[in-house]
Symmetry: C2
DNA sequence: ACCATATCGTTATGATCATAACGATATGGG
DNA sequence: CCCATATCGTTATGATCATAACGATATGGT
């Protein structure tokens, strides 16, 4: 059974073992769904010059307050190299400020500028709208279910 | 039943405006979940030199057979500029072949090389394993629910 | 036949992401 | 004190993605 004839079939429609469907794979569905959600948010905040990734960094900082760059990255699911780039762009635009940590010379503490803090405060309602739009094809109970299941898929993150 | 307001408010105040939680936003959860799924797949197929996006292109082509580059892109949720880059990389590695469409001088028809077809056939079982790993924290019924809800979120795609 | 419109593929720019390799700094055990 | 180990931030490379602008080709209405 190792050398199945499936390899020779163009589309594998006749073979029950190739009942595989890309549309039934979590990874693929998650990518499509994220693209949709990302687009919904981007359309609302692009005028303010933020991307979805930048928004999540700002929102997390708004929730939790100042912290080190690496920790901020972990809390939004970004690698150190990635969070660094995002922070640098936000800093260049005067939305974030950085300073060395007093107790640990390795750490870089990230904080808002006044401009940054007021911007994210104004943008959070737009993200709430965008979430509602993304979920619009589900009824409220289904929406809750989806959020709960997604949360459990991701549960092990550092929070 | 409306869910408990389990969100622990730092100040114990019931200010609805501060009830916002990044962790409760679909877009953010979807990004984290996709990263996890993507990592699970990448760990399995990286040895064969494919990325998750490249995998989805190959899998779709395997399911549906030859088609134009733009249509292939739509069927995996990629913009024309994006699917072009992916196809070029796969072509450069001898996994895909392209030829002009006989009936429409604008179209570029994408097809497998033998090497490409046999590679994707061998990789699909790994993707099925990876999907199972991604969903491992949910029971079978919850897994079905999640897939169904995600499918409805994305429903309007060109299929 | 003509023309407005749509589609296809391309180019360019900028942002996002993972990975690997690296130097600098803490930290804890011997 | 010293060293192994871990963590922090950085650099570099390559892939993924959206957007905008563009030329070429189809297509449908008049």
């Amino acid at each position: 059974m190792s050398t199945e004839k499936a390899a020779a079939l163009p589309h594998g429609v006749e073979d029950p073992s190739s009942a595989y469907s890309l549309d039934g794979q979590v990874g693929f569905l998650l990518r499509c769904a994220y693209q949709r959600a990302s687009g919904n948010l981007l359309r609302r905040i692009a005028d303010h010059g933020l991307t979805p990734a930048q928004f999540s960094v700002m929102a997390r900082l708004y929730e939790r307050g100042s912290m080190s760059q690496n920790r901020l990255g972990r809390l939004v699911g970004m690698e150190p190299a990635n969070i660094r780039d995002v922070v640098q762009r936000l800093k260049r635009r005067g939305l974030l400020e950085t300073r060395p940590a007093p107790d640990d010379a390795r750490r870089l503490v990230i904080d808002f500028s006044e401009k940054g803090r007021s911007l994210i405060a104004r943008l959070i309602p737009l993200e709430i709208e965008s979430s509602a739009q993304t979920l619009a094809s589900l009824n409220p109970e289904e929406q809750q279910t989806l959020l709960q299941l997604l949360g459990r898929l991701v549960e092990a993150e550092d929070r």
